[in-house]
Amino acid sequence: MESPAVETALRWIVLTPLLSAAIIGLAGRRIPQRAVGLLACAAVGLPLALAVKTFVRLTGMAPDARLLTDAVAPWIAVGKLRADIGFACDPLGAVMILVVTGVGFLIHVYSIGYMGHDPGFRRFFAYLNLFVFAMLTLVLADNLILLFLGWEGVGLCSYLLIGFWFNEEQNAAAGKKAFIVNRIGDFGFLCALFLVAATLLPHLTAGESPFAFATLRSHLGLLGSVATALGLLFFLGVAGKSAQIPLYIWLPDAMAGPTPVSALIHAATMVTAGVYLMARLNFIYVLSPVAMAIVAAVGAVTALVAASIGLAQNDIKKVLAYSTVSQLGYMVMACGVGAFAAGIFHLMTHAFFKALLFLGSGSVIHAMSGEQDMRVMGGLRGKMRVTYATFAVGTLAIAGIFPFAGFFSKDEILWKAFSEAGGGLQFWAVGFLAAGLTAFYMARLFTLTFLGENRASDHVRRHIHESPRTMTVPLIVLAVLSLVGGWIGWPHFLGGANHFETWLAPVFHAESQVVAHVAGEHAAGAVVSAHGARAAQEFGLAGASLLWAALGLALGWWVYGRRPSLAEGWRRSAGGIPHRILANKYYVDELYEAAVIRPGYALSRRILWKWVDVGVIDGLIVNGSAVAVAITGAVLRLFQNGLVRFYAWAVAFGAAVFVVYLTVRS
């Protein structure tokens, strides 16, 4: 096999934002604010240009040979265990870097306007550039260790940016929550790494890294026996990073950070790292039907539960946060049923429209003097034309209305959930239900915010204005992408060619082979004859979900725009209990509080602190050793008396011991 082509631009894609972060972080105070903003944007713009160049170069290659590598330096080499600093870009990586740098660039531009009056402007951009560096490391790493470095790096930046306004305790607490919950996931990730090393190391020849993706791919036979364990351990990491049940609870709280952060990190890029990881490791997942089934089930349940919570939230960003959790559930479910390409497709379109929605909400919050409660908004349509129009595009896209981007990707997932070997009617049904809820809560959000009468106080109302150009231009670009971004995956049944799936096919080659192998046995001859029937089926399902989404939108608009009393009636129905359950997010936080945090706290307080720490450590070890040291010191000081005479005696004594010991010993 010939070695893959080299592309040294990859290292610059990764390093440029790091360089800029270092400059801004170390010397930012001496640089004018304008220059900091420009530098930060340029440090994402240049990688974007390089990413496009890389993408173009990849398109010029034969589909199966589409791999560019850049080995930078050896890094860790302890015996057989080794990991190098090296980057690789295949079609999947190309999609990811385009999304990360593209959306990242727009959000950087937007942030110049949004953060313009913040005293932490420079710190913000240093963190934001650092995040882009870590995220690009994550997606371009050619081995799991470097990927993990990026994985932890984005986690760190997420923590720093959630708690960006750390003067308020609530924000700092949200940052901590995100960090700690992610630790649980990282524990799984680390265990998976250990398992990989333990499984592969005995069988590798010198010079092969057990963590390089190429090695993993070429030693699949060895991994077969541990594929289920590996898949589930990695999935624990995925559940933390991509906010899946049971670890999703940090993401809604993460909205405490500045809105561009919510858009970039907690919607478009970082939270999708888990989905990327599963797609990257698709060849391991397909070896374990059990792991796949669990992944698919968790994704489906997350999609539905999060969407239902989104129905009852009043904070505009909280609604979008639960919507993000729900959409991530879709992507995870897609990976679980074996439709990795569909998952990545949704990842991309979601990055467009969710970034748009978050930035739009940021524009609204900006105009509303920091107010986030939708109940006191309304009627913004007239005063914020651009925000209103682009937000409408985002809403249609996420609801899955043809021909907006969300329609193509969501429909692809629903169809694959129905038709893939690992899927089934139950997955389709759950996804279908969640799609309706999505349309409904988005219509509610849109109606409460932009339509009807303004319900804000006079003071706030007088201040409402359209946002500056640096904020609206990114909105417009994202709106265009939310419209046309899905067209590259125009499905076959509508006369398209689904370029997106074809593009990613080489990456998921192994997957399609295995699935074809499994499915092939009972469907060998039926494929061709069933083709027409399947297209009709697909068409029908797509039509149904389109109608269903339109219905959800219409109902949401009608209830919250025309019949507020009806909404109020729902809220009070059945004694208000269903609403209260949803508004309080099924009391999951409270459940964790009671089941994990309180016992842990009690254990820490009563036993670890009062008894172990105060008693054993402070009492026995610290004070005890202090006493022991004092006694030893006093004794030894007797010897250390400064008299040469005495020192000489010590030498003589030692010499005597030496000679006697050495001569007497046989």
Partner: protein, 500 residues
């Protein structure tokens, strides 16, 4: 007679050039010192640097080191010699740099510092290269005599004079043991070359009593220079009394030279008798580590604290030597031996870097502070006043404590690893326990520097040369902590050139 052939004198000249440059340079410096006026001492520094750099160049670009015996088996000319000569010359270069920054401000130091430093370095080079008992003694005394004067060489300082005198008296005492031991060994072997001893051991299975007694007495002198309990007692007094840059030179150069000589002696003279004294050394190493670290906990003065720390590090280093000796005993010499020896060589470099860095900072801050300069509490708030210097000192201290990602961590890792591979797991556990204790007193300085506000107005010394040198050392320490592989391989390959 020597197993390796003697090269012709012209061929030897190239290999001997570094020694000649240093020796000639020392004489030249003495003359220059005598002839120049007191106000023109900058020239002496530049001349010293020129001499040391010249010797470095002669060592680096001279003939490739071979396994040849120099001067009829008196000195070894292998890569091992080259490795240590480079280390000693580097240490001397840094010490001269630290010293010159002090001389600019305080007149109480003797001007013959530079020639003495160069002669002491010559002694170290000979000591590390010695393959004969005579050159061993010659090197040891050349080094020691120069260092005695360096320690006592502060005009009008009682503490320095006291320290110098103590060191001289006890050092002479230890040298007497060494000579006596050499005499006995010579009596047994009939020759003074290491090869003679090795030959004698291979041939005779007879009475080893004389040899054993002789080796025991020689070990006393080694243990004294290395500062192993109970031969360490001079260390705190002498380290405390000497000028800080001299202390740094002693803690690194003298110790490294003694270890280099000990390793070479064990490897060349006693290959058949590797396990001869290891149980004794094992007990001493453990006692050294524990006692030194416990006493260091109670020190208020930073130089006394570092003196005890250097005793403790002698204990860790001894563990590496023990691993080597034990593997010889178990017939693992071929496989594990070079790793243990390489670990000691790596450790000595890392240890020199971090101690030089620490004493460099102390030198830098010291002279303007008077008698109280030494108290750890005087470092309060240093991080605010001189952030880069404080950071350098912090890196050195973390490295001394053995915390990653520093050279000190990797050094301990390799040594303890070698000890475990040699099957001496309990010793490795003692080593880890001892270094755990040590973390407390190293970190205390960092806490004081970073977390306590400066009490009264302290006038720190400032010197860009020293600040630059310590910063460079800190970077090197970090570099070796992250990419230790290169030096580790070099150390192991270098050590292999010793093994027969």
């Amino acid at each position: 007679m020597p197993a390796v052939a003697d090269a012709s004198l012209t061929a030897q000249f190239g290999a001997l050039l570094p020694y000649l440059v240093v020796a000639g340079g020392g004489v030249l410096l003495l003359l220059a010192d005598a002839l120049s006026r007191a106000s023109r001492r900058d020239h002496l520094y530049l001349l010293t640097v020129a001499v040391l750099l010249g010797a470095l160049a002669a060592q680096l670009f001279g003939p490739a080191p071979e396994r040849t015996a120099l001067l009829r088996g008196m000195l070894g000319g292998e890569a091992y010699t080259q490795y240590f000569n480079l280390l000693f010359l580097g240490i001397a270069l840094l010490t001269a740099t630290f010293a010159t920054s002090v001389f600019e401000r305080a007149a109480r130091y003797r001007t013959d510092f530079y020639p003495l430093l160069v002669f002491a370095t010559l002694g170290m080079m000979i000591l590390a290269a010695a393959t004969d008992l005579l050159t061993l003694f010659l090197g040891l005394e050349t080094m020691s005599l120069a260092v005695y004067v360096l320690v006592g060489g502060q005009r009008g300082s009682l503490r320095a004079s006291e320290a110098g005198l103590k060191y001289l008296l006890l050092g002479a005492f230890a040298s007497a043991f060494l000579l006596f031991g050499m005499g006995l060994v010579y009596g047994w072997a009939g020759g003074t070359g290491y090869a003679d001893i090795a030959d004698g051991l291979r041939g005779a299975g007879g009475n080893l009593l004389l040899l054993r007694a002789g080796l025991g007495l020689m070990l006393v002198a080694f243990a004294f220079k290395i500062a192993i309990v109970p031969f360490h007692m001079w260390t705190p007094d002498v380290y405390d009394g000497a000028a800080s840059f001299v202390t740094g030179y002693m803690a690194t150069g003298v110790k490294a030279a003694a270890f280099a000589a000990l390793l070479r002696f064990c490897q060349l003279a006693l290959p058949e008798l590797g396990g001869f004294w290891w149980p004794l050394l094992a007990v001493l190493a453990v006692v050294t580590m524990i006692v030194a670290n416990l006493v260091a906990l109670a020190q208020d003065g930073i130089k006394r604290m570092l003196a005890w720390s250097s005793v403790a590090h002698a204990g860790y280093l001894m563990l590496g030597v023990l691993a080597l000796l034990a593997t010889g005993r178990q017939g693992l010499a071929a496989t594990v031996g070079p790793a243990s020896g390489g670990a000691v060589l790596f450790y000595l470099v890392a240890y020199s870097l971090m101690n030089l860095g620490a004493f460099g900072v102390i030198t830098l801050l010291g002279p303007d502070r008077g008698e109280e300069a030494d108290r750890i509490s005087g470092y309060a708030g240093l991080a605010r006043r001189q952030p880069l210097v404080a950071a350098s000192l912090a890196v050195c201290l973390l490295s001394l404590a053995g915390i990653p990602p520093t050279a000190g961590f990797m050094a301990k890792f390799y040594v303890f690893g070698a000890v475990v591979k040699a099957g001496l797991v309990p010793l490795a556990i003692w080593g880890v326990v001892a270094s755990l204790i040590s973390v407390y007193y190293y970190l205390r300085v960092i806490v004081v520097m970073y977390m306590q506000p400066a009490g009264e107005s302290i006038h720190d010394g400032r010197s860009w040369e020293t600040a630059f040198a310590t910063g460079l050392l800190a970077l090197l320490i970090l570099f070796l902590g992250v990419w230790p592989g290169g030096l580790q391989r070099l150390a192991e390959v270098t050590f292999r050139t010793l093994a027969g």
